[in-house]
Symmetry: C2
Amino acid sequence: VIEIKNLTRVFKMGDIAVHALRGVNLNVDTGEFVAIMGASGSGKSTLMNLLGCLDKPTSGEYFLDGIKVNELNGNAFATIRNERIGFIFQTFNLLARTSALENVMLPLFYDRRGRIKNPGAAAVEALTRVGLSDRLEHEPSQLSGGQQQRVAIARALVNRPAIILADEPTGNLDSRTSVEVMSVFQNLNDQGITIILVTHEPDIALYARRVVELRDGLIRRDSPVTGR
Amino acid sequence: VIEIKNLTRVFKMGDIAVHALRGVNLNVDTGEFVAIMGASGSGKSTLMNLLGCLDKPTSGEYFLDGIKVNELNGNAFATIRNERIGFIFQTFNLLARTSALENVMLPLFYDRRGRIKNPGAAAVEALTRVGLSDRLEHEPSQLSGGQQQRVAIARALVNRPAIILADEPTGNLDSRTSVEVMSVFQNLNDQGITIILVTHEPDIALYARRVVELRDGLIRRDSPVTGR
Ligand SMILES: Nc1ncnc2c1ncn2[C@@H]1O[C@H](COP(=O)(O)OP(=O)(O)OP(=O)(O)O)[C@@H](O)[C@H]1O
Ligand SMILES: Nc1ncnc2c1ncn2[C@@H]1O[C@H](COP(=O)(O)OP(=O)(O)OP(=O)(O)O)[C@@H](O)[C@H]1O
Ligand SMILES: [Mg+2]
Ligand SMILES: [Mg+2]
């Protein structure tokens, strides 16, 4: 479902160029569960933003369901993202002065196909699955760090996307809450949803079936998970 | 150095009251290294904000170096915080459109006693210690999550505070970078600086000498670290 060929991403800052990705090749089949690991600054979020159609590569190709995504115009690009991808940001990116419930309902207003008949109910269900049924009306500033993270997770799931991209989804969660969240992901994966998740925690990577290791903008290792 | 007696913190939202802290008692001596653990939403950040003089309790007392802090007025309250405490926020709270270097120099402009003669050099040194000497001019949006976290850490250290309060300082860091950051903390603690750090990772808690466990706004356990 995902095919990346020789992807690069260079950030220009005046005369300086930061080579965040230096030629990444990656194929992910439908229904896979992949963990991406690597040092701070190695390019993981940059890769996730490209996969999530939030950014375009400097060079190389990205095929999503056979469509050459890096060549799409603004509208088509955004539509692909809204219809097929659920994205959980490393820094959550929730709307301030907007309740947890409204934050989670937001993707449903972009859903032109109107698949989800009752957005309110879908949002309540998504928030309940991550343990926040008693925090629906709280705004981000009235939530703990781990609660904000879980609102971001619920928001990514509510549209029932085909692909979930999760950037450090358990970074602010205690072990027990992490296990609850990972079993939600495992459940979705059992239903055929493709999951790619960035983590720095080896215990979390064990939930995946394949680990891809990034270093300095390149994939250094790509192998099945052993010891599950 | 820190004495908390029966501290409570209630957040009012319309008719609803959230009892984030329900009567916390805690004494921390100068030079201690304490880890605070507990489930998401158990009250850790709320306690840290009270300790850091960023918030006031609903009831109870907080003595910092023998001074009854909860009764200080706005100015005295802020001065105590700026002079004695270095705070690392769970969500970093860096200034956007401001370079890493300028973000780290910020506390030095509040330092009325002018202890630090060369703020620029102190900031460069703090950023170098967390591995960011090649990212001084980058703004937060041009930094990875773990790099932003490290800028927040450098900012808390630059004023050479007597007490460091770190809320999940390694939440976005890979194991190797975490070890580098924890050895910076260990180093500071060896010099007599008091460290209180919130973490959900047992490996990180092992760097401390005492673990305090919060659950539903109360301290459930307070014991020395074994198995170091
Ligand atoms: N401003 C606020 N208004 C209402 N409720 C709040 C507010 N701030 C925090 N809370 C609630 O208080 C409780 C404790 O929050 P706190 O941020 O201290 O938790 P925490 O232990 O740091 O959690 P985490 O590990 O997820 O960061 C949470 O249930 C949260 O929803
Ligand atoms: N807009 C930008 N301009 C300049 N450099 C950038 C920009 N965004 C990211 N970078 C740099 O690109 C590199 C890769 O960043 P990225 O966010 O992908 O890292 P990461 O692997 O997600 O790190 P972490 O584990 O810390 O989140 C970093 O060194 C970062 O400083
Ligand atoms: Mg990242
Ligand atoms: Mg917290």
